[in-house]
Symmetry: C2
Subunit: 128 residues, 2 copies
DNA sequence: TATTGTTATACTCTATAACTATA
DNA sequence: TATAGTTATAGAGTATAACAATA
């Protein structure tokens, strides 16, 4: 329950209210891990290809990403984040960091250490 | 990021694949905190009344909840979880607990203490 | 023939605006 | 007149099935 609550609270801190979680997740992946094909994005987000295609369409229309046909395998399409897309992700991260910084400032050093250790364990657990 | 990852992983453990998160959240609220009016549910889930109305419609058609006009204020509708609804929530909680139990079994006692402490801090933080 | 991306279709969640019934 | 719930309508995410282009 604590995980669900905190997740929801963090998610509410974003740069653009109009952008959905699904869209932002794709944008964050592209910014953090470079260009991906549609299939790679779909697999990474555990979503079907048509679903990811729709999300990517929205991002493309808004100018946050670009589609480029792959040179070597013409079936593939390389999806890349634009400069504006990068800035949007950065701004959202800044907001979340600001919110977290305020919250963490009120915690004791011991509580901070606990959260840091827990984060590592939680990531490990979620990967199973 | 750890919070988002774990949240997603936990959410994937449910009794009915066909039930959405929004529907399950309402059901869990009704089971844990008793009957609510439509407006109360909407406010609690931070969603508009029409949106909640639609979710409640689906739950009612499926037999997980019942609608009953309020006796004292006829504008209001009391929404209550059914016996089957209770069982569905219980089953989902069982599944999540089973998954968590398996995961936690592989952790050290120190790691478990860290997660327990972190959960309390995270809940507190999310409430701000 | 298999793979990659796309389109067609359908259902749920979300919202705002407008409407009904009740207070 | 204000409030609680509902319906109308529209946009986005999700899915499966079917299709086009390419390997």
């Amino acid at each position: 329950m604590a995980t669900f609550r905190l997740s929801r609270r963090l998610r509410s801190q974003r740069a653009l209210d109009t952008m959905s979680d699904a869209q932002f997740a794709v944008l964050a992946t592209l910014k953090g891990h470079g260009p991906h094909t549609l299939g790679e994005l779909a697999e990474r987000e555990r979503v079907t290809a048509p679903s990811m295609n729709r999300t990517v369409n929205c991002l493309e229309e808004a100018g946050w990403i670009t589609r480029t046909p792959d040179e070597t395998d013409r079936r593939k399409v390389n999806i890349e984040i634009t400069t504006q897309g990068r800035e949007l992700v950065a701004e959202t991260v800044r907001r979340r960091d600001m919110w977290l910084a305020q919250v963490v400032a009120d915690l004791t050093p011991s509580q901070r250490r606990t959260l840091a250790r827990a984060a590592a364990i939680m990531s490990e657990v979620a990967a199973r």
